[in-house]
């Protein structure tokens, strides 16, 4: 119980120098290419989000997301091709449904809904990717560290 009581206090303390850890699952064809474009265009965004390239957002298992939180992620981003643009025709449609459920479940157990996000970023949307990450980092900084699913040891 004690931890739950202390948590908010600690959160406030850490909030100032707090740098969120974020895992970003990017599909190879759209979102990863989009973040490449952000690079080519030299757009600046916070370095908190470390990208993991997957073939398709459809391959992102709920376990990946939960595991990232368990390993200490303060936020998790899943990004894929816009509906209809999936390189694999419909992988992102399956992803959308699955991710929606994960998000609802996390919300239901009281994890701040701002900690888990899905976005559509096409290969042409470098600016959007930069924006998505910037917003995400900003929102998570406001929340402080994630403790609910983080392994305690």
């Amino acid at each position: 119980m004690s931890e739950v009581l202390e948590a908010p206090v600690q959160a406030k303390k850490e909030a100032q120098e707090f740098e969120p850890k974020i895992v970003a699952f990017l599909c190879k064809w759209c979102s990863s290419a989009g973040s490449d474009l952000a690079g080519v265009s030299r757009l600046q965004y916070p370095p908190n989000a470390v990208p993991i390239q997957v073939m398709c957002s459809g391959s992102v298992s709920p376990l990946y997301i939960l595991s990232a939180f368990n390993k200490g992620a303060d936020g998790v981003l899943v990004s894929g091709c816009h509906p209809g643009d999936c390189h694999y025709l419909k992988g992102n449609f399956f992803a959308r449904r699955r991710i929606y459920l994960v998000q609802k479940l996390l919300k239901f157990i009281g994890l701040e809904s701002d900690r888990f996000r899905m976005s559509w970023v096409s290969a042409a949307e470098g600016t959007k990717y930069a924006q998505v990450v910037a917003d995400f980092v900003k929102d998570i900084k406001a929340l402080g560290p994630q403790r609910k699913l983080k392994a305690k040891n």
Binding site: V23, V54, L63, Y64, A68, G72, L89
Partner: protein
């Protein structure tokens, strides 16, 4: 696990080095488990850079290589090739993108370096579990099926056959030729359609490499690129083309009259008939719906009349299994349904015609022997109104798109009419005139200036009949006047829509269609004649409205793509495909439902991946709740390790 990884960090001049402390990345990664070699270099992609990878692999017996540099889209190929030169399996070389995804987007050197370390480390963790893969070789059947015997299908078949491939040309109707066979003349040269088409049709029928199947339809398909198995259903051929002498004795005695679809209902024909004089195969054909019942007791006149003994009522429909390596879909177009164009009275008033009916009226082989006469009273029409965009460019009520060829064929129709009836008046309602194409614009201008066709800019709003006369209401937006024209005949330039068969074939072949129902190409610009399914190609008006030159052009393009595909004895396929852990699979079929490529089937109760169909997207593994399916070299274990690496652990 005692793997030996090598890490190579690129400065990319100062592109990376300016923001990322490259030396630090190298020294940090050197501490990692499994990393036995690590170095940095100013330009890894340069020859010395690549050479250093090759040497390091040899000298340190590396079995995993990670290049920490720019986006994999740029140099993954480069470094995988270098790796294989060094004797490493190319699939055990991974790229860590620390330029586009790190150095270029951050300023804070410390933080960028920390991130670069995480990105590189996660690539190392992945590479340490990369298995050696070899591209899959797939044998191919060097035979092609072309579906649809219009000009697109004919051209494509001939090109393929002349390139030495066996071709099966499947046509639903009793003759090939398609809509082009119905046309009188063709723009912009006004040369006779049948005169340029017939020789090609004959060539098809004579070509040793082409098997022609008329009155036939594809009913099912299985297999995959290079190895399709197709079922073709053919109607019973009561008249044997080999024996038929086209003497017309049978039709002469046939008691049944049916409407002639080739004349778009303007004439009738017998139950036993020949669609066109130039039909290929050159044979009469028996319309079983119309025939009194294929029964000697009831009728049987034609059988008696036929001296060649070409008629056999006992013929049965057949189903043929055909193995092919590639399929070309050329199912063509239909005209936008007249029922949907009530405002123009099409179907209600006999003298409101569609474009194809008018073609038949102008055609020497048509119902009027090439004289433009009104269907209602066989009189020569003096005022003919042509209405463009009937059903096109009207997102509210009809088709949103432009059917592209109507401007030209309306100009052609008006011109032809003036040639037939020099003292008549031809009015054209148009929104815009789109006459891009060699000699097109000149042709339109000629129709106005030389042949005096009257163009009215505006939509015709209504066609109605009063006191037996057709009246066309419209507006001339240039003069701003409402116009009302008494017309003897109205010709609608109806929108082109995909042929009825297109929807069915798309379903059978499991290929996509766009919002308008036309076949969807793999990429609108770069892969215009391929479907998203490997080995299935598109051509002609079934893919989008187009005229004859463009169709022929696209048909040859499709042929070239097929030749490219089938020219190799074996196809190469990316080996990073899904793999089932049978021990964990319970056969729940979720992956089967989720696979975008129908690559997974149940084989005695377990999921089975057809590696050739699999594109490695991993939707299956994202769906499986039992971790029973994984994509090689992007396994859940690898992702798991990448996650911990990203978390700094």
């Amino acid at each position: 696990m005692t793997r030996r990884a090598g890490v190579f960090v690129c400065h990319c001049g100062t592109n990376i080095a300016a923001t990322v402390d490259v030396k630090n990345v190298v020294s940090e990664l050197a501490k990692d488990d499994g990393v036995v070699f690590s170095k940095d270099y100013v330009y890894m992609c340069s020859d010395p850079g690549q050479q250093s990878v090759i040497d390091a692999i040899k000298e340190n017996q590396l079995d995993s290589v990670v290049i920490s540099c720019c986006s994999p889209n740029l140099h993954e190929k480069t470094f995988r090739e270098a790796s294989s030169v060094g004797g490493l399996n190319p699939f055990q070389c991974e790229i860590a993108n620390i330029r586009e995804q790190c150095a270029w987007v951050h300023k804070d050197r410390a933080k960028a370096t920390e991130k670069a370390i995480k990105i590189t480390r996660s690539a190392v963790r992945r590479s340490l579990r990369d298995e050696s893969l070899t591209p899959l070789g797939v044998p191919v059947t060097r035979k092609v099926m072309v579906i649809g015997g219009g000009i697109a299908g004919i051209q494509c078949s001939l090109d393929l056959a002349n390139a030495g491939f066996d071709v099966v040309l499947v046509e639903k109707q009793a003759t090939i030729g398609g809509h082009m066979l119905q046309l009188s003349e063709t723009f912009p040269t006004l040369d006779c359609s049948q005169c340029i088409l017939s020789p090609k049709m004959v060539e098809v029928s004579k070509h040793p490499k082409i098997t022609l199947m008329v009155q036939s339809e594809v009913t099912s398909i299985s297999g995959f690129v290079g190895n399709f198995k197709v079922k073709v259903h053919s109607k019973a051929q009561y008249v044997d083309p080999e024996k038929c002498k086209i003497c017309d004795d049978c039709a002469a005695v046939c008691p049944v009259v049916a409407t002639n679809q080739y004349d778009v209902g303007l004439t009738g024909r017998r139950a036993i008939h020949i669609p066109f004089a130039q039909a290929i195969p050159a044979s009469y054909t028996l319309d079983e719906e119309a025939c009194l019942g294929l029964n000697p007791v009831v009728c049987g006149k034609c059988k008696k009349a036929c001296e060649a003994g070409a008629i056999d009522y006992d013929r049965k429909p057949t189903t043929t299994d055909i193995d092919v390596g590639a399929i070309v879909v050329a199912t063509g177009f239909d005209l936008y349904g007249k029922d949907k164009l009530g405002e123009y009275g099409h179907g209600r008033y006999p003298d409101v015609l569609d474009g194809l009916q008018f073609e038949r009226l102008c055609s020497a082989s048509g119902p009027t022997g090439g004289h433009v006469l009104r269907p209602s009273d066989q009189k020569e029409p003096k005022n003919v109104v042509f209405i463009q965009c009937s059903g096109s460019r009207d997102p509210e009520n009809h088709c949103a798109y432009c059917s592209k060829i109507c401007c030209m064929y309306t100009a052609k129709h008006a011109t032809l009419y003036k040639h037939h009836v020099p003292d008549g008046n031809a009015y054209v309602f148009y929104i815009d005139i789109r006459s891009g194409g060699k000699g097109y614009e000149e042709f339109v201008q000629r129709s106005m200036e030389r042949d005096g066709v009257m163009y009215l800019r505006g939509r015709a709003s209504k066609v109605y009949q009063s006191k037996g006369k057709l009246k066309v209401l419209g507006v001339d937006t240039l003069s701003g006047r409402n116009v009302e024209i008494d017309a003897d005949m109205v010709v609608l330039a109806q929108a082109m829509v995909p042929s009825k068969g297109t929807a069915e074939i798309a379903k059978t072949l499991k290929i996509g269609r766009d919002k308008d129902g036309f076949l969807a190409e793999a990429h609108p610009k770069l892969r215009p004649v391929e479907s998203v399914t490997g080995g299935i190609f598109l051509t002609g008006a079934a893919q989008s409205p187009k005229d004859i030159p463009e169709t022929v052009c696209q048909a040859s393009a499709a042929a070239a793509k097929v030749i490219q595909l089938l020219s190799k004895p074996e196809l190469e396929h990316n080996p990073a495909v899904a793999r089932v852990r049978e021990s964990h699979c319970t056969g729940c079929e979720m992956c089967v439902d989720a696979c975008p490529y129908e690559a997974i089937t149940l084989v005695n109760g377990k999921a089975h991946v057809n590696e050739v169909l699999c594109e490695g997207c991993g939707t299956c593994s994202g769906t499986c709740v039992r971790a029973a399916i994984d994509v090689k070299n992007v396994t859940q274990l690898q992702v798991f390790e990448m996650i911990s690496a990203c978390m700094g652990g």
